[in-house]
């Protein structure tokens, strides 16, 4: 097996991984950085992010306002000290991206423009039309080419972490084009592999979003935190789940039921006004909007579409010119995929799984409880999203914490020596044998796609927008059954070169482990908070028992063990989470209380 030595190995080369690689390369040009990606970096799913990246920018905005929006948006399950760090560094990172060439949309006088986004009190979302993630990813990838110390392993698929002597010491990868295994020995490892939305049926995610890094860390004893919190984005394409960005509503779009009525006013988000008011109606947070859809569906006020019950995203009043300028990709998607001209007709939409709020447990400096391991981005739970992420916080997260992860991983790498090479090689051989066993198993009967479909259907049924103990238990049981059947998977393809069926089988193993962490964490949380909503006697938030992070611990073939950890509160004690007119009243009361204390 070929062996490469690096100071820092980064798994995943989307926005978070690239930002980490650049930070490490800038901190010490002599350090060697291995950047591993199962695709070419510009294919990473950061590419599909549309709406924008949040950073306090306008004179009448404040870090405090961004902090409060984020913490209340997360239903007080955020690590507040980490949120403080995040909002304070967001703007510098936007400017850094600008200096690297990111084509941010501009105001007439040439400054970076900002737009409104759901749950954000003041416009602070930087954007590059409606292709923000695409432009950020290409800017970061192209900028990374300047740094010769970043050695890329493109189209290399990670099958294991090398852990020895209580610390992580490298990664084992498959070179997809040849099927050959390689060991990358490293003093620190950063996981930046993105989310796990593909465990659900209807989702906005690319096929590569399969929870790889989460599962790898989890299997080595690192807990997955807050995995029950899965975000449904309210406006997605029926059938495929493709995303219509929240910026559609930030620019003034309406959500209508079958009667053409702006139904969000019935769910504590009103009053309905002709122009968007921040943190109200269509600019409410995603969890509340997806929940309102579910209720409209129960009431029979949705529209029947071949791919399910839909509501209408109405952009007609914005006019073709503005739509072409601000939302060109949305325009293109609606016309080409649905045959709908959004300037002339409303777009049919429904909620689909979009984002995993939870992830690899990380402290405020991105370190996992396993020495030498760091994580950034959707795979990570650094603590800024709580029980519901606000749109446009995640792209900024990639930058702020990507930089931090790169610097921290490098700092650690300088403190420790490479581990025992022969032990690492033995671990890598074991990982190879295990991965190859999947291909060589001749007596299997189970088809990968069948297992994947059953998993995704079961997750949707049991861990969707609203949950009950019986549906979640049924999903937990189903996942146990699927994990058992996974042992009997059979592959058509036994070759080495570009054996994508083999990779799909390994990914299915990752998906099943992550799905179990989600379902069991959900079942154990006997309250409703943010995106986790129950209908079986636990409809309220319960701060006495559940102002806690859940921690799912891997237990081999068995069910995960769930424990709990404290939530860091610095200056925002749990309060009433309200939007629309009620939200403004709650905000005024909070400020009055603060003034009285001061």
């Amino acid at each position: 097996m070929d062996i490469f030595k690096a100071d820092v190995a980064i798994v995943g080369a989307g926005g978070g991984g690239l930002r980490a690689a650049i930070a490490a390369a800038e901190a010490d040009p002599a350090a060697s950085i291995a950047l591993v990606s199962k695709v070419y970096p510009m294919r990473s799913h950061t590419v599909a992010a549309e709406g924008g990246a949040a950073a306090v920018t306008q004179a009448h905005d404040s870090l405090e306002a961004h902090f409060h929006d984020t913490v209340s948006g997360g239903d007080w399950l955020c690590e507040q000290d980490v949120v403080e760090y995040f909002v304070a560094r967001a703007h510098d990172e936007m400017v850094q991206m600008e200096h690297w060439g990111c084509p941010w949309s501009r105001t007439p006088d040439g400054r970076a423009n900002v737009r409104a986004f759901g749950g954000m009190k003041i416009e602070r979302t930087w954007f590059a039309a409606d292709k923000t993630g695409f432009h950020m990813l290409h800017t970061l990838f192209q900028t990374s080419i300047r740094y010769p110390s970043i050695r890329r392993f493109d189209e290399h698929f990670c099958v294991d972490l090398v852990v020895d002597d209580g610390r992580v010491q490298g990664v084992v990868v498959i070179d997809v084009a040849s099927g050959e295994f390689k060991l990358i020995q490293a003093r620190s490892v950063v996981i930046a592999t993105g989310g796990a939305g593909r465990v659900f049926r209807e989702n906005t995610n690319g096929g590569i979003v399969t929870g790889d890094g989460m599962a790898l860390a989890y299997r080595h004893g690192v807990p997955l935190r807050d995995m029950e919190f899965v975000q449904y984005h309210p406006t997605c394409m029926p059938g495929t789940g493709l995303l219509f960005t929240e910026a559609c509503r930030g620019e003034g779009g309406f959500l209508l039921n079958k009667d053409g009525y702006r139904y969000l006013q019935d769910y504590g988000l009103g009053p309905a006004e002709p122009t968007p008011r921040n943190k109200a109606m269509e600019l409410g947070p995603r969890d509340r909007l997806s929940q309102a859809y579910w209720h409209e569906k129960q009431k029979g006020r949705t529209v029947s579409d071949p791919h399910g019950e839909v509501v209408h995203l109405d952009l007609r009043h914005l006019g073709e010119k503005k739509l072409r300028e601000r939302l060109p990709q949305i325009y293109e998607l609606a016309v080409e995929y649905l045959g709908v001209d959004p300037a002339k007709a409303p777009i049919p939409v429904l909620p689909a799984v979009h984002y995993t709020m939870g992830g690899i447990a990380a402290d405020g400096r991105t370190a996992a409880p396993l020495q030498g391991l760091y994580s950034v981005g959707e795979c990570s739970s650094v603590g800024i999203h709580g029980a519901n992420r606000l749109g446009s916080n995640s792209l900024t997260e990639l930058l702020v914490f990507g930089k931090l992860a790169g610097e921290e991983a490098l700092r650690h790498a300088k403190r420790v020596a490479h581990g025992n090479a022969s032990v690492a090689a033995a671990r890598a051989e074991a990982a190879r044998a295990q991965a190859q066993a999947l291909v060589l198993r001749g007596d299997g009967t189970e088809r990968i796609a069948a297992l994947r479909r059953e998993m995704a259907r079961s997750m949707e049924d049991g861990c969707g927008i609203y949950r009950t103990a019986s549906t979640m238990q049924a999903t937990c049981d189903k996942l146990a059954e699927l994990k058992e059947r996974y042992r009997r998977v059979r592959l058509d393809d036994t070759s080495r070169v570009w054996n994508t069926e083999w990779l799909l089988a390994i990914e299915l193993g990752y998906l099943l482990d992550v799905a179990q962490a989600m379902a069991h964490s959900a079942l154990a949380r006997r309250e409703s908070r943010g995106s986790h909503q129950r209908l079986d006697g636990f409809e309220q938030r319960d701060d006495v028992n559940f102002l806690k992070h859940s921690l799912a611990h891997f237990d081999g073939a068995g069910a995960p063990r769930i424990s709990y950890g404290d939530v860091k509160i610095t200056r925002s004690p749990p309060g009433t989470r309200a939007y629309g007119a009620a939200g403004e009243q709650a905000e005024a009361e909070r400020k009055a209380k603060e003034a009285a204390h001061a």
Partner: protein, 249 residues
């Protein structure tokens, strides 16, 4: 209602067992909203797990799923089976690239070219973070915005007859990207990128067929970028004779 089906013929090649590529036919059930990619996914999932192809985002932005569909370079995720009736639909790997397996081509030559043109901002006037962002008006942004929309899907390379004849030709996508930085008001790196642009494999390799722009799924119009640079490159050529200091006056 009886299930409708369509025949998809795929040019297969598995280097470990096939001496040469061969056509294989699959019959796939389809609905009007199904893309070619979804047809291939059906084959992979339910008929033949050995068929290999790249894909990810499904929404024409990641650039993974380029292939020849009935002889034309297309993104399979935004090409719909309903438009290819009655079939059979013929799918091959992108033209002009070595096939690694089935519909997977080698992207490395393209990546090497992309890396070779300094595809990053070389600031005209360096600026600290504390100084904030560069001022760039919407009109200045519009100078390069279109050329920054390239998703690296390689369709333009598969369309380019010149690249088919000479694999060294820098090619439409990378030349468009070079133009994107050269005309960015913040950038001062044009002189550093000139050697590639002016080389025989640079803009002068282009024979102005224009098929690249026709197949581009993102409206980048690489042919326009290349043509602009021929004008600029020619100016540099004349300046070299006129100016004692050289081309970058």
């Amino acid at each position: 209602m009886p299930e409708r089906t369509i025949e998809i013929q795929v040019l297969r090649y598995r280097p470990e067992q096939d001496e040469r590529p061969f056509w294989q036919s699959y019959t796939v059930p389809f609905t009007d909203d199904m893309s070619v990619l979804q047809g291939l996914q059906h084959i992979k999932d339910d008929i033949d797990g050995t068929l290999s192809f790249r894909w990810s985002c499904r929404m024409a932005i990641c650039g993974s799923c380029g292939m020849m569909v009935d002889g034309r370079p297309e993104l399979s995720c935004k090409t719909f089976l309903r438009d290819l009736l009655p079939g059979p639909v013929r799918i091959e790997a992108l033209s002009h690239f070595p096939i690694e397996r089935d519909l997977v081509v080698s992207v490395e030559p393209f990546i090497r070219k992309l890396e070779g043109i300094k595809p990053y901002l070389i600031p005209k006037e360096p600026r600290t973070l504390a100084e904030g962002e560069y001022r760039q008006t919407p009109a200045q942004l519009a100078q390069f915005d279109q050329f920054s929309a390239c998703i690296n899907c390689l369709l333009c390379y598969a369309a380019c007859p010149q690249f088919g004849l000479d694999g060294e030709f820098t090619g439409p996508g990378v030349l468009a990207l070079m133009h994107r930085y050269n005309v960015d008001s913040r950038d001062g790196g044009r002189a550093e990128r000139l050697p590639v642009m002016n080389a025989e494999e640079g803009v002068w390799g282009c024979t102005a067929v224009g098929y690249c722009s026709e197949v581009c799924p993102k409206g980048v119009d690489p042919a326009h970028a290349v043509n602009q640079n021929k004008v600029n490159s020619a100016k540099d050529y004349f300046l070299r004779f006129l100016s004692p200091k050289g081309a970058s006056a």
